[in-house]
Each structure stands twice: as structure tokens, then as C-alpha cells.
Amino acid sequence: MLPLDAVAYTNRWRPRHPAEKAFLSLGLLTCAVALPPWPGAPVVGVVAAMLLLGPAGVAPRQVWRAMKVPLGFVTVGSLPLLVAVGGTPWIRFEPTGVPLALQLAGRATAALLCLLLFAATTPLADTLPRLNRLGVPPAITEVSALMYRMLFLLLESVRTVREAQASRLGFRTWATSYRSLAGQGGAIFVRAFERARRMEEGLALRGYTGSLRVEVEQRPVSQPFVVATGVLLVVVVVGTLTLRRVLA
């Protein structure tokens, strides 16, 4: 199981309706990208982090683990703003780029925390069947659900194949590494299509008519949660704009 998906199944907000969590996370995400980065990014980032670590009950270690790779992109992607090219000297440090790079890093970090607020509290298995109500064709949600179910089996297969290859010194040299990786690619292709074929046969034996509808657990949308989210979003917007005027 992927670490973020495991957290999504074990956090305190797991029983909540996905729409509640989507409203809160995507509302905050919109604030993070639409409000002025200073002081919008710190405000949104702190609110998202508090919700994630507090009521949702996600451990700081798990949040940090999920943030490491995207933060690497943000750091590397902010560096070009610190230099200017053209003129003399051709490449030089650009002092005006410092606030821009900080704003960019702040906005991206706040937005990432908002994304995690949704991803770490809502399993995809809860979200995908409900996308039909947003107008996504059933064929697409069913293909997505099949992908979701199959990918964990394939990831497990790759792990097993990799361990077996490593035990046979399959990554000793460049040549053996590439041969082993090709073996992994071939193995997941064969297993994916073999599983699809077996599923096809199994469904045919059960009178498959073309629909793969699954039972979706009914959960009521909490009105107090939705109202509290609306109030929180208004407070974030008004608070950020007021703070901006005060700090200007």
C-alpha cells in the first residue's frame, strides 16, 4: 500500500463524506493560489497544517514524508528566479528575484498542504464512484476504479520481482540493471493483461452486462461541517486581506 493511501484509510476524518473534505481542501487550495502570497500563503498553510495535524490526526512524520519530493521541485524551481541572464555579465544574481522566489515557495508549500489535507484524509476508493455525480461518464470512473484496484497488485509484483532480481545480483552492473528493469516492465505488462483476461472470464461467467457498478457506502453530509468550512474560508479570505492592509 502507498504510504499516503494508508494514511487516508486510518485518519480520524476517514468516515466523513468525501464532499465535505473536498469542499474544505479545495476551498483552501483556491485561497492558497488566488490570494496574495504574502500573507495569504502563511495564513492558508498554517490553517491547512493545523487541520491536518489536529482534527484529522495525521502524524507530522507522514506529512513530511509526503512533502519531501514536491518540496524538492519547488526549491529547484525557485532557483532560476534568483538569477538573470542577458546583458553584462551574461548571468548574474538578481536581488529582485528573492521576494518572488520566496512568494512562489510559500504559495506552493501552502497549496501542497491543502492537497495533502484532501489526499491524506480521503481514499480514492471513496472519491472515484462519486465522480459520476459531477458529470464524469461511468465508463471513465469504472476504468479509473479498475486502474486503482490493479495498481497495488502490480506494485507488489514489481517489489517481489525486484527483490528476486537483487537476490540474483541483477543490479550488479549497468547491463544487468537494464536487463532487470526491462524484466520488471515486461512482468507488470504480462501480469496486468493476464489479470484483465482472468477478470474478463470471471465476469463473463457471472453474466457481465457491461456495468461494473459497486456499492457505495452512504454517508450523510454533515451540515455543521459544511457551515463551519464556509465560515473558515470567509475568515481566511477576510483575515488575509485585512492583514495585508495592516502590514502594507
Binding site: 497549496a111 480514492l124 469504472e142 476504468v143 479498475l146 486502474m147 495498481l151 516492465g185 457481465y208 461494473l212
Partner: protein
């Protein structure tokens, strides 16, 4: 390399979403039509999508000594064709955003445009062109995977440059800056992905000719010979 959540300004994020939308809608309509006429193809598409996700999780060694993940756009485009890849790539990127926090929801449109639209179309175009010019299957697959990968990263660099133009030299200078970080460093990785994709394709021809025939990569027959360009492009 996915553009991280919140990295692009709102207008740019919206513009790239609008740019990617027609390709994704076209792919979705093609898939819905295919599923309506052949309900079993849903399972095949699910397998293809899961394969694309897991392929992008493999770690390939680079000549620089570092490790990277293949984009899988070249192999995906050759096996499943670009319109299907536009949809499957979008679902894969959505999964990567919500399961791994790689990429994001606001930057989904930009990432879809580079990885699920431009990458697969460049890869498929290069593959068809190479085959038409008389190149072998291995050469076609290598160039498709390597150039599809490189095109993806060039587009990412342009997307970043348009969002953050250089203070002195504008967008052109910014393309040079972002390109030197995200595209030039990608050349060895693109070559690595090309080599790996050729090895995977050779292996698949040996162990899974029936599935490749079903996908239209090989033509039916006892020898399961590679299809000609006219057939592949049909």
C-alpha cells in the same frame, strides 16, 4: 518531473487546463465509444492504465549516477495510441497527485498537457516517421521513448518560463534558465528511457505477442511480425 501543486499562477494554471481539455475530452469520448461497443475493453484499459502508473514508478539509473523515473509516454503511445494515452495519462497524473502528492490539482492541466498530450503525440509521430523512413522497430521505439521524454520536459520548461519570465531577457532567457535545469539534465535520462523501452518492447514481443497483436502493435499471424507503419497509424 511534475509541476508541483500551487507552483503556477492561477491564470496560467487555468490556461493550461483549457489547452489540455480538448485532447482529454477527445480521448474520453474515444474510450466511452470503445467501451460501449466492446464492454470487455474496459478491463484492458484498466490494465493499460495501471501498467502506465507502475511503469512510471520504476527507477532507472542515469549516466550521471542519479536515479530517475521513466515518463512512460513513449511506450504508452506506441502500445495504446495518443488519444487513449491522453485520458489514461490524465487519470495516472490525478492518481499521482492524490496518492503520492506528485504534481497537483491546480497544475493538473499543465502536467497533462506536457505528459499526456505533447509527450505521447511527439513519441507516436517520431515512431511512425521512423518506421516510414525504413527504420527498424527497435530504432522507432528508442527514438519515440527518448524524444517523447525530452519533449515532455521541454514543454515543462516552456510552461515554467511563461509563468516566470526573466527580469532582463524575458521569456527567452527564462526558457534558457528552466531548460538548463529541467530539459538539458534530462537528455541522459531520455537516452536511458529509450534504451529501457527498447528492452521492454523486445521482451514483450517474445513473451506476450498475443497481447501486442490485440493492441495492434504486431500484426496477426504465426510469426507475430511487427506491423507496418500504415497499419500502425491506422
Amino acid at each position: 518531473m511534475h509541476i508541483a501543486e500551487g507552483y503556477l499562477p492561477p491564470l496560467h494554471a487555468a490556461a493550461w487546463t483549457v489547452a489540455a481539455a480538448p485532447f482529454v475530452v477527445h480521448g474520453a469520448r474515444a474510450v466511452v465509444r470503445r467501451v460501449r461497443t466492446d464492454p470487455d475493453s474496459k478491463l484492458l484499459l484498466g490494465a493499460a492504465g495501471a501498467f502506465s502508473f507502475v511503469l512510471s514508478a520504476l527507477k532507472i539509473p542515469s549516466v550521471t549516477g542519479s536515479c530517475s523515473h521513466p515518463t512512460g509516454t513513449g511506450l504508452g503511445a506506441v502500445l495504446f495510441r495518443p488519444p487513449v494515452m491522453a485520458l489514461l495519462g490524465t487519470i495516472v497524473l490525478f492518481f499521482q497527485a492524490t496518492l503520492l502528492a506528485h504534481g497537483g490539482l491546480t497544475t493538473l492541466g499543465a502536467n497533462v498537457f506536457s505528459m499526456a498530450v505533447v509527450g505521447p503525440w511527439v513519441a507516436y509521430g517520431v515512431f511512425v516517421l521512423t518506421r516510414r523512413l525504413g527504420g527498424g522497430l527497435a530504432l522507432g521505439v528508442f527514438l519515440a521513448a527518448a524524444l517523447g521524454d525530452l519533449a515532455t520536459y521541454c514543454v515543462t520548461s516552456v510552461q515554467l518560463a511563461l509563468a516566470f519570465p526573466d527580469a532582463a531577457s524575458g521569456v527567452a532567457g527564462s526558457i534558457a534558465k528552466f531548460g538548463s535545469i529541467f530539459a538539458v539534465t534530462q537528455i541522459p535520462l531520455a537516452i536511458s528511457e529509450g534504451l529501457l523501452t527498447v528492452l521492454i518492447m523486445r521482451l514483450l514481443i517474445r513473451v506476450s505477442p498475443a497481447e501486442l497483436t490485440r493492441l495492434g502493435v504486431l500484426k496477426p499471424g504465426p510469426a507475430a511480425a511487427p506491423v507496418t507503419v500504415k497499419e500502425a497509424g491506422a
